[in-house]
Symmetry: C2
Subunit: 81 residues, 2 copies
């Protein structure tokens, strides 16, 4: 059983109101470390056994079509043990 | 400038309708690799310079109080280059 992680983030040039809300809430709570915050999505996909190259290609296509909107978002696919 | 990543996922025992929606949409699109899908949040926090231990402790506290709901979610804090 392997876990494939797909991380989806808004492209840097796209406005991120969720991230801005977090960035402006942090100082109100006394946290002054953040210069900027971006919020994105994280998918953990369980795959039986070791993922094959065909499965990884499928996951790349699923990330591009279902999990992200390539017009405004970027994604990264990672295989975790 | 360092990027701190906070990954927030629902605890395994908490129902994840978003993940289930993705898991049931994948086969409809012809993707049959997934046995289970969980969806969570990912925060990228920009910090000036190398984060100090005090800043990392602050980030842990912010992750616990603002970025996650510890009743239903777990979080992981990672420092990226």
């Amino acid at each position: 059983m392997a876990t494939i992680v797909v991380e989806v983030m808004l492209k840097p040039e796209i406005l991120d109101p969720q991230g801005q809300a977090v960035a402006s809430a942090l100082p109100r709570l006394g946290f002054n470390f953040a210069q900027a915050v971006r919020q994105g999505k994280r998918f953990e996909i369980e795959v039986a056994g070791v993922p094959t190259p065909e499965q990884l290609a499928d996951i790349e296509r699923a990330a591009e079509t279902l999990l992200s909107n390539p017009v405004i978002e970027t994604y990264v696919v990672k295989v975790e043990a």
